[in-house]
Amino acid sequence: MLLDPTFLAIQLLNGLQLASLLFLLSVGLSVVFGLMNFINLAHGTLYMLGAYIGLSLVRATDSFWLAFALAPLAVAAVGAVFHVVLLRRMQAASPMRQVLATFGLIFVGLDSVRYIWGDYSHALAAPELLAGSVQVLGQTYPTYRLFVIGLGIIVLLVLYFGLERTRLGAIVRAGVDDRETATAIGLNVERAFFLVFCFGCALAGLAGVVAGPVLSIFPGMDISILILALIVVVVGGPGSLKGAALGALLVGMVETFGQVIAPEYASVVLYALMALVLVLRPGGLIPVSKAHG
């Protein structure tokens, strides 16, 4: 079956689709990780929040596209509050304290979602334009998934040129490479970091809305995907856009083809991959070169 080219093509698309979702989710996590040396375990919570806010917006307005546009903004606002209230106070704290504070936030977020939206599972309907299926090499394939793949590629390109061509991008790159020098030459690294953080939160929220029609929405959806996102970041190389893209692609493909070839070991293989990368290339596959260790 594996040698059947159409079967392979379909599975490739499945892998790409998952990679695309993971990329949207991880890129914010990764850049923040790279900038502030800070893992936000509550990043999955922002993703869940995006999905639930999207659900409410779709119910209220009957428009997926409105939810698609507004939910990320709402999540970015939550991220901004989080940054002002918590993160700023924690910059000097040890990595353990930062990790554990966001660990606590997972529980706060989970129960908040349960309190507001209840315990039941939900799903978003795909927008009418993308609802059906198309024929790919004679196989039926959901149109929406192709949209997800396309969206991932677009976001990647936008971010790539944004980082390369804009002033904000330049500040961020400088900040990742060498924060002290960047600050010393008068760049407002703090403000840039804040904007990047909010933007990363918005992307997590976007991933949540976009995942709505493919995956289901339930309290705890954050934890099941958080670990995958962490693997993406670590494997790709924290702080690196290309790394996040490569990590997402790798994890998406391993997850997809692992299920097909050896479902017994698929999950163990992913963790082993992460451990292996950490040991052999601690900076990830595409490490960011740092001026100061």
Partner: protein, 318 residues
Amino acid sequence: MMSRETWRAGTAILLLVAALVSWVRADYFGHELLTQIAILAIFAMSLDLLAGFTGMISLGHAAFYGLGAYATAAFNLMLEWSPWAAMAGAVVVGAVAALIVGSFAVRLSGVFFIMVTLAVGEALHAYLFKSRAFGGDDGLSGIARPDTSSIGISFDDPAVFSLVCVGFACLIYALLELVVRSPFGRLLVAIHLNPSRVRALGCPVSRYKLAAFTLAGAIAALAGSLTAQHNAFISPELLTWTTSGEALIVVIVGGLGSLVGAAAGAGVMVLAMHHLSGVTDYWMFFMGLFFVGVVLFAGNGIYGVIDAVRRRLGGAAH
């Protein structure tokens, strides 16, 4: 002014007295809670050796705890070893596993160490969740406690078993106190504070860290073994990364790098969870807020407060 170590030992004795008093006064369920506290204290103290003294923050420490529980079950149920032998075997398994994991993990630091321990723990969890031989997600039951009927007491009596667990907690505290006071222990703290200087002095930093990691793994396995005997049941939940995270919170609540604080934190945590979950279905919300608050504001935790008293006393004397 009393020395830091003496003060710590004094606090530990006070804690033991409190445990014994509550043991005398407790009913069945009180003994039950005391057992849980003692086991969590052992687990948290082993993590404190890593996180508090050596600066290695593990989100996979529950892997060794769970491994200890699984090894106890496997030795006891499958190989039909006696409970004592199973417990000893579990400690060895925990040590060996920690040695293997540590041999590559200790070279990493900070966030990367957190991630690799997380990966190892989750991989083991995923494996045990699926393994038919170890009961999969259903777990295994019927793990025996030591048979001491020959000396006229029964470990199946919750009162006796809780006392045994408290005894183990005291032993582990004493052992770890010896370790951190030894030259080895002081070197661990030095590595934590300034690894490059220690390395520059020609010390094999990784080897010291590995030794601490192995010891912590062995002690965590002992805690797991006691849990297996306590519940007569094991399941993969023991190994999840959230178990590790919660244990780290216990250590922080108690006060990093104080050992006795970890034990006090265990008491606070078990009792708080016991009362909180009865109050509201949304207890996780408050627990999460509590975690964030502790991490943000509690600085040095419970022991920080106790130590502040010592310093004030010392200040007054001068």
